[in-house]
């Protein structure tokens, strides 16, 4: 069992990171929520990229024609994760823009407090 856990270290770490990211979503502060979502995304990418790794093989930069696929790792997951990282940057930037606008209006980063103020219609500006 311990041997299996050591063998599957990347996937187990990714699952734990996903759970930690999921838990930081609980925190009322907006910046913490955004970091939580970032951690969840990077943990999924770690899980996906670990699917492509094969022992004793190198990065998929072929040297000549007719390359032997048994020397290189699987390029598909790193391609998917490359596009995934860009998605998480754009969602983070969108979140931060929303946070600035909310802080301008309600002078607080606590989402629960903001929602209460918003429902009562108390805008600072």
């Amino acid at each position: 069992m311990l041997e299996h856990i050591i063998n599957m270290r990347f996937e187990i770490a990714a699952v734990f990171l996903f759970a930690i990211g999921f838990m930081t979503l609980l925190h009322p502060n907006l910046i913490k929520k955004i970091i939580g979502i970032n951690i969840m995304d990077t943990s999924i990418f770690l899980f996906l990229a670990a699917a492509g790794y094969v022992d004793g093989r190198t990065a998929p930069i072929v040297t000549g024609l007719g390359a032997d696929p048994s020397q290189y790792i699987n390029p598909v997951p790193s391609g998917l994760v490359l596009t995934g990282i860009v998605v998480s940057v754009s969602t983070t930037a969108f979140f931060l823009a929303l946070t600035i606008r909310l802080y301008r209006k309600y002078n607080s980063l606590n989402l629960d407090k903001i929602l209460l103020l918003a429902r009562k219609g108390k805008e600072k500006v």
Partner: protein, 86 residues
């Protein structure tokens, strides 16, 4: 090699787990930068260099700079940033 990977993964989990308990928001941004840097090293160990460059430039570089500039816009950096108060 496996031991180093396990240590780095543990470092990742420690970085991620410490975030909800840090009071100052600037410290959370810097811990997140550490988290992304460790992730970039892990990509290199997983034999995918494209991801390492992207994660280093985007995760450690751009995202953290955006966090810190947001905090400066919210004037958090003047030591008034206990997240419970705001």
């Amino acid at each position: 090699m496996i031991l180093l990977q396990c240590l780095l993964l543990l470092g990742l989990i420690v970085c991620a787990a410490s975030l909800p308990f840090i009071k100052r928001l600037l410290t959370t941004a810097i811990v997140f930068m550490a988290y992304s840097s460790i992730m970039a090293i892990l990509w290199v160990m997983l034999e995918s260099p494209d991801l390492a460059i992207t994660e280093a430039a985007v995760g450690a570089g751009v995202t953290t700079v955006l966090f810190i500039t947001t905090l400066s816009r919210i004037r958090e950096l003047k030591g008034v940033d206990d997240d419970d108060r705001t």
